[in-house]
Structures are given as structure tokens and as C-alpha cells.
Symmetry: C2
Subunit: 213 residues, 2 copies
DNA sequence: CGGCACCTACCTACTGATAGGTAGTCCACT
DNA sequence: AGTGGACTACCTATCAGTAGGTAGGTGCCG
């Protein structure tokens, strides 16, 4: 993502120039802020300041905060769908796909570009979220569980993974461990914790390769 | 906990009468509300309405919201320390202690009395929390990791657990899985998900008992 | 024993700031 | 000429927090 800095005409402060049109910028900014503090942890005023526009201009693009946050979650789901499609094209090996998924988060957490899954933060406060947002968040987890289930089943079929129970169960175990690892990494402020937890997670599933490799 | 209902003299509404003095009630109420929606998900006004007192009366007990939430987290840590001490007295078997820990959460999630660990919700929004609260939350995770490490080491020593790596690593894996299981249970609105994830988690650690039992 | 000092626990009334949101205007570009 | 995208100005509600006061209890001193 291209990040630039410039000064607004009305206040001397840093304003982030993301690529794309304003609506896309706002979604991106909201995503980043939600990752830091959840739904109630940011305001339209925060976004307005961030991009050097006025608060009502945000309402022009997203009439209500719920609209904006739903857009953020749905954009995330759409991107994941794209990524999955690209993943399946680039590598038919289930273990590689799984590695790419965890590797993506490892990098994001390490460079702090996305220190937590957006849906994970929102899931923590699910009971207090507006229905539309809650539905979108639950949808994300359903998507992810389905994909993981498919990948684990494929890996078993390809002989590169060995599961102790069903792909359904193992997918939930895996998902829980990954999100828990994000939480632990955040709680200990240590990205390496995420990597090490995920590593032992994968080593438990992976079928040892023949020694000659 | 004794829960009673009565009408306030000034407004016809349901008011929760928790046991103990007002300060204790407030801590308990804040704990419940935080579990639902995090730090920014509740207000002094919510608590005031809940217990039929005025907002400034809460400031009398807890000058600032930070004070209140720190008290909530620290009370939680203190209770856990008590529970751990009681646990070690009641059963010297590490596997029983671990079972009691997960069983506690299983019950809480199932009956919705505590559908999520307080510190877990706060950890999700850690970067945006006031320092004092963040410190207390990190402290909780440090406490828990230490206890788990000790229990796992003890279990290995007692021959009832078998770890694939070090107690330190396995404690973090276990902790991540438990918190991830809470998140998954919340995301799918299904307490059974927590139980099943934890079950396979424990079965991986447990040394199979002799068949005669 | 009376009376005063001090305390806890609450109250009313209020503050400045901020929340999300609305109405109406302006302007540049097609 | 219409439209999208921004603006100014404003709204009401709520936020955390403050000022100042009251009722009732406790303890101490004379």
C-alpha cells in the first residue's frame, strides 16, 4: 500500500494518503482502527482527522457507522475469497496453502501492518455489536472454517497431513489455535509467540517428509 | 450469587441487587458488561441504571473509569490466585487441576454466566487501552502462563501428561487454544464448540490410562 | 450526656468534550 | 445542467468527570 504524508490546509498534522478513492480509504482506515480498539474504539472524528476531511463527508460515503463497519468486514471477506482462489491456482498442495495462510499472518503481525484479525477483535465484543455487523463477523468465521476444513481434507487426501479426528473438528481446533495465538502475541506484545504456536500447530498435522526430501 | 429484583423509587425498572457493598456490586457489574462489549462497550450510566444509583455515586467509589476497570481485572487475578491455591489443596493431581480449569470455563460458557474471559476481551483491544489497564491485563496472562507451565511440568513428572515440547511452549499452546476456543464458541454462538476443542486439546496431552483403570 | 468533628455514601446540577448524524450549500467535472 | 463529493453549521444524546450539598453514622472531648 502506498503511504504518503502531507499537510492539510487547516491544521498542521499528519494525514495519511492511502491509494484509491475516499470510500476505499475510509474502509481501510476503519479497518486499521478497529484492529487496534474494536468497534467502539474509533469514531468518525478519528477517521476525518486521519484523512484530512470533515466528519459529515464520511456520512456521505457511509450514512451510518454500521454501514461503514459492515463494509469493512465484507471487504475483508471478499479479499479472503480472492486470496483463496489465487492460492488454489498458485499451489495445489494443501500444506502449501495452509503455510501461506499462516505465513500471511506471521508477516502481518511481525511488521504490525495488521497485528490482529479484524474479525477476531470484533468477535471478542460480538454480543454488544449491532446485528448487521455481528452477522458479517459470523459469516467470516463460517467462511474460514469451511476453507480450513477443505484444505485439511485435501491434505489428508494428498498424504501430506494426518488428522487425529475429522476435518471439521480439526479445522475448528486449528482456527481456535490461530486466533488464540494472535491474542497471546498481543497480550505478550511479542510477534514471535504467534509464530511458535502456529509452528507446533502445523507440525502436529504434517506428515513427516521422507528423509531424502 | 444472589440476584434479586426490586423497583427503585424514582423509575420503574429492573435493578439488579448483587450481594456485597456498592463498590463490590459495581466491580461485578462492570465485569459482566466488559465481558459483553469490552472497555468502550459500557459506561458509568449503564452501571448507574443497573444498580439504581446516580452516576456520580460511582465516581465516589471509583474516581475514574480506569480505576474501576483496573479493580475489575485485579479482582479477577486475585480470585484466580485463590482458586489455584484451593485447587492445589483439593487435588495434587495435575491432570485433575487442568480439568478443573477447563471445566470451570465450560460451565461458565454453557450457562452464559461468564461467556468469555474478561481479560480475553480486553486483550483483543489492548493497543487502545489506558496503560494501567493494559498492564493489569498483561499481568493476568503472565499469571496464567506461569500456572499452566507449572501444571504441565507437574503432570509430566506425575506421568499423567506427555508433552511434545517444553512446558513453556506447551503452556502457551494450551492457553492460545483455550482462548481461541472461547472466541470460536462466541463467533458460532455455540458453547459446545468450546468443550469439543478443549477435549481434543487435553486428549493430546493426556497419557492413556491403563485399560483396567 | 451533649455537642462537635469527621466520615461514608449518596444526591442534584452541572461542565466541556465527543459521539453519531442531519440540513443545506458550494463547486468542479462531466 | 446534473451529479458526486466535499464543505459549513448545526443537532441531540451521551460521554467521563466535577462542584457542592445532604443524610446518617461514628467517635471523641468536655
Amino acid at each position: 500500500m502506498a503511504i504518503g504524508l502531507y499537510l492539510t490546509y487547516q491544521e498542521v498534522g499528519l494525514v495519511i494518503a492511502a491509494q484509491g478513492n475516499t470510500a476505499e480509504k475510509l474502509v481501510d482506515g476503519a479497518r486499521q482502527l478497529i484492529m487496534l480498539g474494536g468497534y467502539n474504539g474509533f469514531s468518525y472524528a478519528d477517521l476525518a482527522q486521519r484523512y484530512g476531511i470533515r466528519k459529515p463527508s464520511i456520512h456521505h460515503h457511509f450514512p451510518s457507522k454500521v454501514d461503514l463497519v459492515v463494509a469493512v468486514v465484507e471487504q475483508g471477506r471478499a479479499r479472503i475469497r480472492e486470496q483463496i482462489a489465487a492460492l488454489e491456482d498458485s499451489s495445489p498442495a494443501a500444506m502449501d496453502q495452509l503455510r501461506m495462510y499462516t505465513g500471511y499472518w506471521e508477516r502481518c503481525i511481525k511488521d504490525q501492518s495488521a497485528p490482529f484479525c479484524l474479525a477476531g477483535v470484533l468477535a471478542a465484543e460480538l454480543p454488544s455489536l449491532p446485528d448487521q455487523i455481528a452477522t458479517a463477523v459470523r459469516g467470516h468465521f463460517a467462511d474460514l472454517a469451511e476453507w480450513l476444513r477443505n484444505v485439511l481434507a485435501l491434505g489428508t487426501h494428498q498424504g501430506t497431513m494426518r488428522l487425529e479426528t475429522s476435518p471439521e473438528m480439526e479445522a475448528e481446533n486449528f482456527m481456535a489455535a490461530v486466533y488464540g495465538a494472535m491474542l497471546v502475541a498481543r497480550a505478550f506484545d511479542d510477534p514471535d509467540r504467534f509464530a511458535s504456536i502456529v509452528e507446533s500447530l502445523i507440525s502436529r498435522i504434517r506428515v513427516a517428509e521422507p528423509q531424502g526430501r
